[in-house]
Symmetry: C2
Subunit: 300 residues, 2 copies
């Protein structure tokens, strides 16, 4: 049994939020009503806005925009279709509708995702992601996207591992995109990264991506579905920051909501998180004020 | 770095097979041409016939037969359809065709699998599996199916973990069936169990199984596909015993083939493994003779 005084949470200010995390973890490994069996110690976290900055544009959308724009240039017949049309016209409302999980928007995005890398090998896809990280840079705060990862969250991962929690990342974004950076950036093996993904076909020693998105995009209830498929469990500890994380937090025992309220050191915004914000307040979730609870924001 | 003299492989006789496992693992953690990065240390194993006895009937098929027979009794219109017809008529050739991965047989099985537990919650399914293990007993050798797990393979899991390999089980059988016993029986967390599975839908706090088999049955090339989806990698170390494991072994660096040649202590048979047996011999796979290489077969 490991009982912590929170030493590992160096970038967290002392206060009720930090304390509630430590108290929960301690009580989860002590005999008593809050004890959690070792097998059940699953912690899951959203990525964009929970583990790194998602403004002005989520990194993964940035990556998709570049790829989709290239595809639309090569096949002008797509220019009138979503999401290509929205990208060409710089129409943000389409992606807002995706966040709101409107079926027609999600399906259009899903189809474009499926089309984009069909026929590619994992290596070809990985090279494209690496090229993106090498050539495209954030607009603010850091010179690399991976430096926009939140230091306090990495410390929380470390603390969870001390208590023998297995830490997973579950994003609506592409599983295979995140896997390129997960080990170096988060210290999380690829197999603990859950997200939207295509099926692959193995033939003559080679894996080739098919034209589909297997099991749908991991948004809203889809997060719980993907987590259960991957782990055989629902999470005990979950962290998220937007309305697409509502079901994942609801399913967990300890619910950590990251509130973006620091306009000086990051971005202050509520859009896309209005519903979750209300649920979190009404139900006593642990609400992280980035402004008040975090000494340091980025790992860089 | 951990260098072993094979102490953990207590149920393995000394000889070239045991030595080749130890040599491979040692060289994989030493600087040099055979070094394997920690992230890449993925080991995958088939289940039926690799981790436990699969004769006279694979345990999972036994479980399916009972369930499918019940369904056919409740819906006589299914009695003329496969696989129900084969079960009613005790026709083994249908399941032989599944092993041979004949499309029409695999698709019929897939549809029946999808139908069988559609609408059920994970708890309802788990209870059915537990009831099966409580009430149905093996015909030979042990009083419980889980006592028919091979002790030498459990020792190998332990050894692999010492070298910081992450051990996964990948079976054509049902993922959720194996997850019921994986932690207690193999010491492997549910999330490291890969297999054929349905999608789930999360609604109002409840997961419900849908009428499908997501990503197909994990047989042959499907094993590599499922392993890549789950782990983001192909395995470094793989163990299997039948023709549905050919691609998984082919994809791995260290290929362990379990040869059932001990009719006294288990079952001696080649059927369903003829192709793999020839590939293994021609290509110098590490061939385990259960008769010669294993001191003890079962964990019980």
């Amino acid at each position: 049994m490991y009982i912590s005084n929170g030493d590992k949470l160096k970038s967290w200010n002392d206060g009720p939020v930090k304390q509630s995390i430590i108290d929960f973890l301690n009580s989860s490994v002590e005999e008593g009503p809050n004890y959690i069996e070792p097998g059940d110690r699953i912690a899951t976290f959203d990525n964009d806005g929970t583990l790194w900055a998602e403004k002005p544009t989520p990194v993964q959308l940035h990556f998709l925009f570049i790829a989709f724009a290239r595809t639309a240039r090569n096949d002008p017949s797509l220019a009138d279709k979503q999401p290509y049309k929205a990208i060409i016209e710089r129409d943000e409302t389409f992606f807002q509708r995706v966040i709101e999980q409107r079926p027609e928007a999600v399906m259009a995005l899903e189809d474009a995702l499926a089309r984009q890398w069909a026929g590619k090998t994992p290596d070809e896809f990985d090279m494209e992601v690496k090229e993106f990280f090498k050539t495209v840079k954030p607009e603010k705060f850091a010179s690399k996207f991976t430096d926009l990862v939140y230091k306090p969250m990495l410390e929380l991962f470390d603390l969870l591992k001390d208590y023998k929690y297995r830490v997973f990342v579950c994003s609506g974004g592409g599983r295979d995109f995140m896997r390129v950076i997960s080990e170096e950036t988060w210290g999380i093996f690829k197999e603990n990264v859950i997200g939207s993904a295509s099926e692959y076909e193995y033939n003559n020693g080679t894996l080739i991506r098919l034209y589909n998105v297997l099991g749908g995009i991991a948004l809203g209830p889809g997060k719980v579905e993907h987590i259960f498929a991957r782990t055989g469990r629902i999470p005990v500890f979950a962290g998220g920051n937007s309305d697409v994380d509502i079901e994942m937090l609801e399913s967990a025992r300890f619910k950590l909501f990251i509130n973006h309220d620091d306009n000086e050191r990051e971005f202050a915004y509520k859009n896309g998180a209005e519903k979750l914000f209300n649920i979190a307040k009404e139900n006593g979730y642990t609400i992280v004020s980035m402004k008040t609870d975090w000494k340091k924001i980025f790992r860089s």
